[in-house]
Amino acid sequence: MVIKVENLTKRYGDLIALDNFNLEVNHGEIFGLLGPNGSGKTTAINCILSLLKYDKGTVKIYNKPMAPDAYDIKEKIGLVMQNVAVFEELTVYENVDYFCGLYIKNKKLRLKLVEEAIDFVGISYYKDFYPKMLSGGLLRRLNIACGIAHQPKLIIFDEPTVAVDPQSRINILEGIQKLNKAGATIIYTSHYMEEVEQICTRIGIMDKGRIIAIGTKEELKDMISSGEKITVELFSMDNKILEDIKGLPHIVSAEYRDNSLIVRSSKGKNNLVSVLDYLKSNDIDFGRIYSEPPTLNDVFLEITGKELRD
């Protein structure tokens, strides 16, 4: 077990930011913490790292209680913060070297690690640039290099892709997967469900300071009643047809808006076929057809009654 958090509770005055938060992260995982803004992801990370005081609960990392002076644990951890945390006065190279030097005493080894980290995030060209001169995406990559240069066994990424260009986003996501393949356990927080679905091996969905669902993406999607979502372009529609479709087997809901029929089916196959069969046999003209598997947003929607995106 890499991390075990039990009943973590954190209040900011009257606001309960973490409400009996529980979490277990295993070796070799890319664990995704998915939740809308303000759901408590950053607070959870900061409490786990003993940066923040908390009101209740226990945090163990590598089976030892985490504390501000648990240096043997701390040296195994790398953090990529939500905010870019670098020194304006230092160049790209110097920043990575400085933070790496807080972990690695051996100068030769450090030199090698710093070069590797800068290469890894692909900012070698900007080594002598000051942070001011970097774009948002490059800054984020520098921020990552500062967090991972000492080759930690556990790396925590807190929303590393907020406000970055698509190219940097791809670079970052691929990089995280590479780090994982190289042996690091990853915790990845985000409010983008696509990213989490793309790279995480296990996902915890957070809302209001709690984890409300946890599992692989398939497990999560199995938890909810709705299966695929079928959208059919239709230029006319009457209530009779809508009611008929709702009456078809395995159909959970059907609605018509913006010249489209949107049908949600329960789990199982061939739901699309039965809808199309009905339309054909009633001589109804239809345009394009899409069928989408359920998303994590559907999971979030079904559990909380609100959309993940704000």
Partner: protein
């Protein structure tokens, strides 16, 4: 570890242009402006030597003490700043009256059963001459007593002392821009610059605290004792600030030709103590004040300015008023203590007053450091 942090903190500090402005450029600009303003004043009110006459009669010729004193007061010792007080002519009484009538002289000294000063009007020049005579009479009566009791003591030593006293009198002559006041402005300026070392103290606390900067969060999750890093940070801050103060000192002494006396070792010692006071003061403000960085900088500038004002930087009489009316404020004001260290070194050499000042400054350093430590010691934050 130590070197790694120290070198990177030095880099961060010397590349911080905004704070460099406040800690280095601003005091130098201010010193230049002061110098400009004072040089104008001294030009306009330059102390000119007074023309006086001495009636050269039998009684004067017998009074060797007065002869010596007058010679001393008239002599220029070659140094331009050490110009004599008087231009002396030796005349008869009639000539003296005529010169006085023609306003060629401000007054004449006439010995006739005692020393008499003859002037035509009363003004600044006349009171200077009178001050000189009063001072001489005081001295000469002591001299006479000593001589009468123990003729052997009529040695050069005593007479030299009398001359030294006359020289002193000359220096404190009531010219508005008498050198002590001008010098005090510059000493005060150094004190202000020392307190501005607080900028670096503030910077270092900000860097180390996770609730003040995101870099602080990184440092707090690193496997290093935070206080160890902080000590290195403060050392780096003191190094740079001390260097800046010495630059300012060099600028004042070598470019603006401000006199600091000759206790160079103690002057640098004062700079070191002053610098540490300033840096720890900034650390104290940064850790105690629970507001944004802008507010803290405001408090830092505001309090340093107030301290300097109370120590007489904008209004020279302030220091005097405080020291006579509410001396406690003088001792509670680090800027005043630093100023007074320089001042007392310049006028009295190494003395108890200097060491008392240094002692109180050390108490301040301990107080600021202790408060900062108690706050930095907390390892977890309530909120980030």
């Amino acid at each position: 570890m130590f070197l790694h942090n120290y070198i990177y903190r030095l880099k961060c500090i010397i590349r911080d242009k905004e704070f460099l402005f406040w800690t280095l450029l601003f005091p130098i600009i201010l010193a230049t402006l002061f110098n400009f303003a004072f040089s104008n004043i001294t030009e306009a009110e330059k102390f000119t030597r007074l023309n006086i006459a001495v009636v050269d009669n039998e009684e004067f010729r017998q009074n060797t003490a007065l002869q010596r004193a007058i010679k001393a007061a008239a002599n220029s010792s070659g140094d331009k700043d050490q110009e004599g007080l008087f231009n002396i002519r030796y005349t008869s009484k009639e000539e003296g009256d005529k010169l006085l009538e023609d306003r060629e002289i401000e007054g004449y000294i006439y010995l006739d059963n005692g020393i008499k000063l003859v002037v035509k009007e009363s003004g600044l020049s006349q009171s200077i001459i009178k001050g000189f005579m009063d001072h001489f009479m005081q001295l000469s009566s002591t001299l006479e007593t000593i001589i009468r009791k123990d003729p052997q003591s009529m040695e050069r030593g005593i007479l030299d002392k009398a001359e030294a006293a006359i020289n002193y009198l000359k220096e404190v002559a009531p010219s508005k821009s008498s050198p002590d006041i001008v010098v005090n402005y510059f000493y005060n300026l150094i004190a202000m610059a020392c307190m501005y070392g607080g900028f670096w103290g503030l910077k270092e606390v900000t860097v180390i605290q996770a609730n003040l900067s995101s870099q602080g969060a990184r440092i707090n999750i690193a496997p290093i004792h935070k206080f160890k890093i902080f000590i290195v940070c403060v050392l780096a801050a003191v190094t740079v600030q001390l260097f800046e103060i010495l630059l300012l000192l060099a600028y004042l002494a070598l470019v603006l030709k401000i006199s600091f006396g000759n206790q160079i070792g103690y002057i640098i010692f004062t700079c070191i103590v002053g610098t540490i006071t300033g840096v720890t003061f900034g650390a104290f403000v940064a850790s105690v004040v629970k507001k944004g960085e802008g507010v803290k900088i405001g408090i830092l500038i505001g309090s340093s300015m107030t301290m300097s004002f109370l120590a007489g930087m904008m209004y020279d009489k302030m220091k005097y008023i405080i020291s006579t009316k509410v001396p406690v404020i003088g001792y509670l004001n680090p800027a005043n203590l630093i100023t007074d260290c320089f001042y007392s070194l310049y006028y009295y050499g190494i003395n108890t007053r200097f060491f008392i000042n240094i002692g109180v400054l050390c108490v301040f350093i301990v107080f600021f450091s202790l408060c900062t430590y108690l706050i930095l010691r907390r390892q977890k934050y309530a909120s980030l």
